[in-house]
């Protein structure tokens, strides 16, 4: 689960990391009122759950209330790579002397958390890794977390001044602690700045929480911003489905994540475009199938839907029953192509043919068929 900058900063602040003051506004008037309290020059920052807001013009320094009203009004409602901005963070502008990078991620290869620091802050760390890899120091963390002496080592890599190093080391130790204690997949400060007065501040916060750990962090689970996510993805999650919206016209309902990906790939291979990733899991619960059909048929781009079910523990006849129940409930006109194979395949075919529907058994054949149906419906 991705957090907004202002939410990440709250978590950092609670962990003792120095974060500049700031408040969230949903309207231009609120933004002006907040800046009146915090003082000018101030920064307006779009709060969206996707990177690239700076390049899209979603971050601006303003000097007057008039400018604030104009810029906050412009940024609220703007689009950042498909995400609409509903909130802005207002924060005083800092006098920056240096910008560093600090982040903790999971290193899958070593199976440990990895702290990365770089004196090249303020830009994408992937870009730094690509163009100037020697500007990144990597420290793998073990069960001790980040011991102070290693934090000092990292701080020395960033700045020669002991006064600054002390502050940086403290931030890094606390960042590593946040990463572990809050079950993060990513805890990143970019930029981590030194001001002209020699103070260290976390000017940004990018925090991603491990979805699998939300059960043990009810306070973090509450931070989920449903308004900032795709409504289909929100509904799918509530119904226990795994759904990702794509750009195509062919909806797919599949059991299993790997098979769902392979189905999308196969649609593209045969010349179609998948509209989504959707894994209904091992369950053949009719409610799940209905929820899946609801999400797909509400999406106006979807011209045809492919069911691809490999019956193992999931029984094909259960899925067929779920589909028929779903069709009774929502009565869609969207063409449906069904591919069923495996456990109780024959029973499923009998159920479907009693309602005038047929199921294919070959995956390639089904994909070719759904592409034709989608083209006819267009």
């Amino acid at each position: 689960m991705n957090l907004h900058e202002y939410q990440g900063k709250e978590i950092f602040r609670a962990a003792g990391i120095a974060v500049p003051p700031g408040e969230v506004a949903k309207t231009a008037d609120e933004a002006v009122a907040i800046a009146g309290r915090l003082g000018y020059p101030a920064v307006v920052k779009a709060q969206v759950l996707i990177g690239g807001r700076g390049k899209a013009g979603g971050v601006k320094v303003v000097k007057t209330p008039e400018e604030m009203a104009r810029e906050a009004g412009r940024i609220l409602g703007m689009d950042v790579r498909g995400h609409t901005v509903h909130k802005v963070l207002i924060t005083p502008s800092a006098e920056i002397a240096q910008e560093f990078y600090a982040g903790v991620v999971l290193d899958r290869k070593t199976e440990t958390p990895l702290l990365m620091v770089s004196p090249a802050g303020g830009i994408d760390i992937e870009e730094v890794a690509h163009s100037t890899p020697d500007k990144i120091l990597r420290l793998h963390l073990d069960s001790r977390g980040l011991p102070d002496y290693r934090a000092r080592e990292a701080a020395r890599f960033l700045d020669p001044r002991w006064d600054v190093q002390k502050q940086l080391a403290r931030v890094l130790v606390r960042l590593a602690r946040v990463y572990r204690d809050r079950d993060c997949s990513l805890a990143e400060i970019n930029p981590l700045v030194v001001t002209k007065k020699g103070e260290v501040w976390a000017l940004d916060a990018k925090v991603v929480i491990d979805d699998n750990a939300l059960d043990r962090h009810p306070d973090l689970a509450e931070l989920r911003d449903l308004g900032a996510e795709d409504p289909g993805e929100v509904e799918a999650r509530e119904r226990g489905l795994s759904y990702v919206r794509l750009d195509g016209t062919i909806g797919c309902v599949v059991n299993g994540a790997g098979l769902a990906m392979a189905t999308m790939d196969l649609i593209q291979y045969h010349g179609g475009k998948p509209a989504n990733f959707l894994d209904i899991g091992g369950s053949s619960n009719p409610d799940k199938v209905t929820a899946a059909m609801n999400i797909l048929t509400r999406d106006s781009r979807v011209r045809a839907v492919l069911f691809n079910i490999f019956g193992g523990i999931t029984r094909c006849d259960d899925v067929a029953r779920g589909l028929l129940t779903a069709l009774d409930r929502i009565g869609t006109k969207t063409p449906i192509v069904i591919r069923l194979t495996g456990t109780n395949e024959k029973e499923a075919r009998d159920l479907l043919s009693a309602r005038g529907m047929t199921a294919l058994s070959d995956m390639d054949e089904a994909v070719r068929a759904v592409i034709v149906r989608a083209a006819e419906a267009a």
Partner: protein
């Protein structure tokens, strides 16, 4: 023969009184697996379909000599279940449970270092040596005994490929689902080393997906140390970056872990990459045709004499016999890195 599990494996089921545990314990038993014990704390002394239930793994192992444990407990309890099995020194632990927090697996991975237990999973369908032993949740009937080894990060996609192999007359020695999480106990490289050393496996199918670099590591290992034909398939070519595709580990992050990169890496290693799952049996057959004449001549002269195909002894085949004589017996956990072979086989020609 097979790898990791076979006719003699004695399986215990952690979480056997739960809905999934009891269902799959019975399914495994029906398949012919020796399910000797179940464990649910507080339910010791009862039984599930004739399988005795114990309060602890230690007790179950002491009483039944179980050497494989399969875990069906809910995610918040799974880390503890793994620890219990490892501390009871069960040689093979298979964790089916999905949804373990990554931090739990970081801790497990660190604890496993230097210990003798091999972990498979979590978030995996388990493994099966067809006709001998099924440990997990896969449908038994789609498999057939044979000589193809299969390893995959997925569940139903694996079933799809297994089913296509079986229908093409290609049975399997062992099929392993290693799991879809970012951190898993056993990786592609570990299973490739086991299949390479297994006399009953002729060729290997590897099914990868987006995220991480385990496929790239596998390709590097194959280049240097695997003489048997390998065919790969990678799922997620159409997956958008930054989005998790169902599996916790299936995500392209920071531009890394794409299907395209992984496919290119396999092709560079001379491993044919199937564009679609239905190509896999054909690619395996083609790869085996290339290898078989040399193999037959070296392994069994009589059969080779009856074969109509031209038999030529390739450098690879010569290197292989020399190596297999010198190779020590597979250890309990042969780490790919530790393999003593220094020889590089000649590269196979690329598919295109």
């Amino acid at each position: 023969m097979s790898i990791l599990v076979g006719r003699g494996s004695k399986v215990l089921v952690q979480g056997i009184t739960g809905r999934d545990g009891s269902f799959h314990a019975k399914q495994m038993k029906e398949y012919g697996t020796k399910v000797v014990a179940g464990v649910t704390p507080g339910k010791g002394g009862t039984d599930v379909g004739g399988i005795p239930v114990f309060d602890s793994v230690e007790e179950a192992v002491a009483r039944t000599r179980a050497d494989v444990s399969v875990i069906y407990v809910p995610a918040p309890l799974a880390q503890d279940a793994i620890y219990e099995a490892v501390d009871a020194e069960v040689p093979l632990v298979v964790c089916i449970t999905e949804g373990l927090p990554a931090r739990d697996m970081v801790e497990v991975a660190s604890y496993l270092k230097g210990r003798s237990t091999r972990l498979i999973g979590p978030n995996c369908p388990g493994l099966i040596s067809p006709g001998q032993c099924k440990v997990g949740i896969m449908p038994g009937f789609i498999h057939a005994p044979g000589r193809i080894g299969l390893v995959s990060r997925s569940g139903t996609l694996t079933y799809e490929v297994v089913w296509q192999l079986t229908r093409a007359g290609m049975g399997q020695s062992t099929c392993i689902g290693i799991g879809g999480d970012p951190i898993v106990g056993t990786r592609f490289v570990d299973t490739l080393a086991l299949f390479e050393a297994d006399e009953s496996t002729d060729a290997i199918v590897l099914i990868g997906e987006i995220g991480g670099t385990d496929e790239e590591d596998a390709a590097a290992l194959i280049e240097k140390h695997v003489t048997k034909p390998v065919v790969a398939f990678i799922a997620g070519q159409t997956a958008p970056p930054g989005k998790r595709m169902g599996h916790a580990g299936a995500i392209v992050s920071g531009g890394a872990g794409t299907a395209q990169e992984k496919m290119a890496r396999f092709e560079r290693a001379g491993v044919p990459v199937a564009k679609v799952p239905s190509e896999i049996p054909g690619l395996i057959a083609a790869a085996l045709r290339k290898k078989r004449p040399a193999r037959l001549k070296l392994v069994s002269r009589a059969k080779a004499a009856g074969s109509k195909k031209k038999t030529t002894v390739s450098r690879a085949a010569k290197a292989k016999t020399a190596k297999s004589k010198a190779r020590p017996k597979a250890k309990a956990r042969p780490k790919a890195k530790a393999r003593p072979t220094g020889k590089t086989r000649p590269k196979r020609a690329g598919r295109r």
